[in-house]
């Protein structure tokens, strides 16, 4: 039986729906096995900003029940360093490259998108909208109007398909996803981490140097799944889903409720083989259920 696993966003084709979540596989580290990474649908390096950022004080991570809280603070060396030192290696990968960007000023977003639009090796741009909305005391992704405004402005100047990455720290994530779609986003990705904290009871101090951070890992999966389900009912553009995926079954749940692609994040720290195991498991499932095209799984949830 021949199996069709390929999916697409805009005009970009992916050989399969499995990728990794930004910030959980670095750029391409000296330990990375390119041959294995090239078996995935796409690669997404850690979010970059226009200028370098130092990140948050340590401790930056804490283990929690079935997950972790992180407050890294988008530490990165900035766009110029990325283009000069990271992109050449990433460009050698024979799979689409999705570059994640974030900005703390509107102009920075425009510069990032304009400059990355000129790079042939960049296939898509992901907008990490979990950054402050400067007009209000909220994140852009917490405000449908701000999301629409930012995405619409960037859509005008981008030569690459745009993905809006959404925050789960909202009342109605489907409304934000819909705003992104209306503004021309080619896809939405969700979820980013849930606001969270941990306290050291002996010292009565927050565990994290930044006091609060974001929860990820299997602990968030059922909530992330419901959010993807809600978003699927409101939008027609593809969804890249993430949140606690550890196994093929987790990934299949997201595909069945309507995700076009799935991303493995925190699980990479537990077992770096996870994305490949997820991909193998999806193939095994398709064989077992005699499904020849992944599109027969995507959005196939039966509710009656």
């Amino acid at each position: 039986m021949s199996m069709k696993l390929n999916v697409s966003i805009g005009h970009i084709q992916f050989q399969n729906p499995v990728t990794i979540a930004s910030g959980t596989f670095g750029y391409i580290s000296k330990y990375a096995k390119s041959a294995d990474i090239q078996k995935l649908g796409a690669f997404i390096p850690k979010t970059i900003t226009l200028a370098a950022r130092e990140g948050n004080p340590s401790p930056r991570i804490v283990e929690t029940a079935s997950g972790m809280i992180n407050a890294i603070g988008i530490e990165n060396d900035g766009l110029d360093h990325f283009l000069a030192h990271k992109l050449p290696d990433l460009a050698k990968l024979k799979i689409p490259l999705i570059v994640s960007v974030s900005a703390y000023q509107h102009n920075d977003f425009e510069t990032l998108v304009t400059r990355l639009s000129q790079e042939e090796s960049v296939s898509l741009i992901e907008l990490n909208l979990s950054c402050p909305n400067l007009k209000h005391a909220r994140l852009i992704a917490q405000d449908p109007a701000a999301t629409q405004e930012v995405v619409a402005a960037l859509k005008k100047i981008s030569a690459k398909p745009l993905i809006a990455k959404l925050s789960p720290n909202v009342t109605d994530i489907a409304a934000v996803a819909f705003a992104a779609q209306e503004a021309g986003a080619d896809a939405v990705s969700l979820v980013n981490t849930f606001s969270a904290m941990a306290v050291d009871v002996h010292r009565r101090r927050p565990v994290l140097g930044n006091v609060t951070g974001g929860l990820s890992g299997p602990a968030i999966k059922p909530i992330a799944l419901k959010m993807v389900y809600d978003v699927k009912k409101r939008v027609t553009i593809p969804i890249i889903a993430m949140g606690g995926i550890m196994t093929a079954e987790d990934a299949l749940e997201f595909l069945i409720v309507g995700a076009t692609m799935v991303a493995v994040g925190t699980a990479n720290f537990v077992d770096p083989q996870t994305p490949l195991r997820v991909l193998q498991g999806i193939k095994a499932y398709m064989k077992q259920h005699r499904v020849s095209d992944i599109h027969d799984i995507i959005g196939s949830l039966r509710t009656s």
């Binding site: 959980t24 330990y31 096995k33 991570i61 283990e63 079935s66 890294i72 720290f269």
Partner: protein, 255 residues
């Protein structure tokens, strides 16, 4: 998806004292890659508890990769219950190694707090080939944390011990031992242990104009430099302990 993942078989899991264990691991091609000062990142349980892997310095790398560990919480307790023949998923060897002392060095002083002594056995396995005077200053909580240091002595190391409660060796901190030894300049320092001890060593050596290296511990997620979770402040900006370290120049760490 990464190059350094091994399924190791447990050759031995030996109880050294009522608190300390030594685990010997084997996998094809593993031990040959180890340099002194590197560590392994061990998945102690296949389920979700504990969630993260646990990092351990490599104590010795001869026929097997050995780690020396103190049972302090759930992860190390699970590890202590592992039996010979079981297999265990390890990433390693990770991080950078100790660098050799600068030319002209006469004496090498290793200052270890608790299981911070672990990476120094592999280090003395290398340093014994040179003509340095080797001194180990070992500070432990109590006698339950003091294991036989004969392997160090075999490598030609003078050993001085201090315990917090005086149940073995001198009572007091390892820094107190430092003031008692005869320095044979030029002296070079290696240190590993809890942060307050490293800070203390930093201060002591700064006043005496000694240089050296420190191996640090920090809570880790990935262990391979991709999550940026284990960053510490250095004079060169933030650096990851797992990838840029765990060994740093003693004076470049900002504590």
């Amino acid at each position: 998806m990464i190059k350094c993942q091994y399924t190791c078989s447990i050759v031995k899991n030996q109880k050294m004292t009522s608190r300390l264990f030594c685990l010997s691991l084997k996998a094809p091609g593993f031990v040959q890659r180890v340099l002194p000062g590197q560590f392994v990142h061990v998945r102690v349980a296949n389920g979700l508890k504990p969630f993260f892997r646990r990092p351990f310095s490599i104590f010795r790398a001869q026929k097997t990769v050995d780690i020396l560990y103190d049972v302090v919480g759930l992860g190390t307790r699970i590890l202590s219950e592992k039996k010979k023949g079981e297999s265990i998923d390890c990433l390693g060897p990770l991080g950078i190694s100790f660098r050799l002392p600068p030319p002209g060095t006469k004496q090498v002083v290793m200052i270890a707090g608790g299981v911070g002594v672990a990476p120094f056995l592999a280090l003395t396995d290398v340093l014994k080939k040179e003509k340095y005077q080797l001194v180990l200053l070992y500070g432990a909580r109590d006698k339950d944390h003091v294991f036989s240091l004969k392997e160090f002595r075999k490598n030609g190391c003078q050993v001085h011990i201090a315990t917090d409660d005086g149940s073995h060796g001198v009572k007091g901190r390892v820094s107190a031992l430092f003031s008692k030894i005869n320095l044979k300049m030029p002296t070079y320092i290696y240190t590993c242990g809890p942060k307050p001890m490293i800070k203390c060593v930093q201060d002591l050596t700064r006043t005496q104009h000694l240089s050296g290296q420190a191996s640090l511990e920090e809570v880790m997620a990935c262990g391979v430099g991709v999550c940026l979770g284990c960053s510490i402040k250095t004079t060169k900006g933030f650096r990851t302990v797992c990838h840029d370290g765990p060994v740093f120049d003693l004076q470049e760490i900002i504590l």
